[in-house]
Symmetry: C2
Subunit: 240 residues, 2 copies
DNA sequence: CGCCTAATTGACGTATATCAAGTTTCGTGG
DNA sequence: CCACGAAACTTGATATACGTCAATTAGGCG
């Protein structure tokens, strides 16, 4: 773990009693499998805002599950350019893109103080292991991640900044709803710059587009808080 | 299989004797596993240029491996916009993004007459199955695909059209080299428009940038044929 | 040989990046 | 609790890279 970021002592939560089981990697596994894996997991360690889970290029020895809070992943090239790849919420698994080559492609850092579970890769990839259900579960999670990256690609390739922002907000809305939160009112844990970077536009453009959407009566923004007043309006904006 | 595209009779090649084993999904599996899977695979069926392997939204019952030729995958939204997601060469596996939800996200069509192997998903995802090595192999392939999509995202997010084209050519160069072909001279199996779409620029811009790279002495283009005269020059173009 | 699509080339307009100035927010320490 | 400074954000003015439109040429295939 980079910088001992995950070493903060914290109340241990076992997977079996975790309220997030249905969202998590382990949620769909038979009890026996969870038992075997359970002991190797570092459960819900508290990490401060802005700390790194791992850096690009580091050996990938673990996957990380967001128990609470949020994390951004991003790529950096040798000229120092950063491209935000994803924002990860409760229940999401980070680090799958490091499995193939054995070292991380992206870097990952927390957007707010977050609680993170660390799952050693050796336990997951053991071909002779007993965790048969786990592999197919992991594969489905990887497949889902693929889907998200490809949709992200679509956003950037085919929509203008206003539409990208609408898609971003609608996407967050859906994911918050899946997690039992409001679909129409939530806090943006990431900065405007991070949103801009993620959507491949300038920071100033995000300011302007938030204002524009507000002037159109589709959303209401107050600092980090966003309210989506007209979900259908946002959707129509995208399909035109 | 859509439109009976894969029904053309063709000389059957078994995985064990396939020249592409080292590139393929099955290349790293123990012989026993290949034996079990072998019988369920439709080996190297010939498909004409422009035929579809599958459409977005269709039930995902198979994965497809490119035995020879090339395939593009792309997303379509309900307004009809197309975004090319990837170009797939010999040995690459297509359809992993359909595993999670059970239906394909992207559509896939051949860029030239190609030979394609079809692998039923039921055989792959069977949790009680005997193919333990297969799951982790599949997971690594998914991880690799994730990596490619995320790099693609980076290209579009952070580089200008000239740089994107250079990255695209360098990427093709590397992949051809891995397959035993020339790293500096190859045919583009996709149209300019497909390249443009993939790189999220206008078709005309690709024409202009190809010309520009040629005028700089970095490449030489003749219709579909490209020669990379200065690989380092192309790389420097990107890191500036 | 002739049609149809793909590719090229040029002229032009605009969306959005960039630059710059100003304002608000927020964390920190007095 | 307030004051300060540093970020983050907003807002405006300007420039330009690239998309769009249009006309032309070249290739591919029947």
């Amino acid at each position: 773990m980079t910088n001992s970021a995950l070493c903060t002592p914290h109340r241990r939560i076992k997977c079996q009693t975790c309220a997030l089981r249905h969202l998590c990697l382990l949620g769909h596994l038979p009890g026996d499998d969870i038992d075997s894996l359970e002991q190797h997991i570092q459960h819900s360690q508290l990490i401060q805002r802005g700390k790194y889970l791992f850096f690009s290029g580091e050996p990938a020895h673990s996957l990380y599950a967001v128990h609470s809070g949020s994390v951004k992943t991003y790529l950096v090239d040798n000229a120092g350019n950063e491209q935000v790849i994803g924002f990860h919420l409760t229940g999401e698994l980070i680090g799958l893109d490091g499995l193939d080559e054995g070292h991380h492609l992206v870097s990952a850092r927390t957007l707010e103080t977050s609680s993170i579970c660390e799952i050693p890769i050796t336990e997951l990839m053991n071909p002779g292991g007993k965790l048969h259900g786990l592999s197919s579960r992991l594969l489905r999670i990887a497949s889902h991640q693929l889907r998200e990256d490809e949709e992200h690609l679509f956003w950037i390739g085919k929509y203008n900044p206003e539409q990208r922002l609408a898609l971003f907000l609608l996407n967050l809305s859906e994911r918050y709803q899946q997690r039992g939160f409001s679909a129409t009112e939530f806090n943006l844990s990431m900065s405007r710059i991070d949103i801009a970077n993620y959507l491949a536009v300038a920071g100033e453009t995000i300011s302007r587009m938030l204002l524009l959407l507000q002037q159109k009566g589709l959303i209401r923004v107050d600092r980090k808080l966003v309210r989506l007043d007209n979900l259908n309006g946002l959707k129509e904006l995208v399909s035109s």
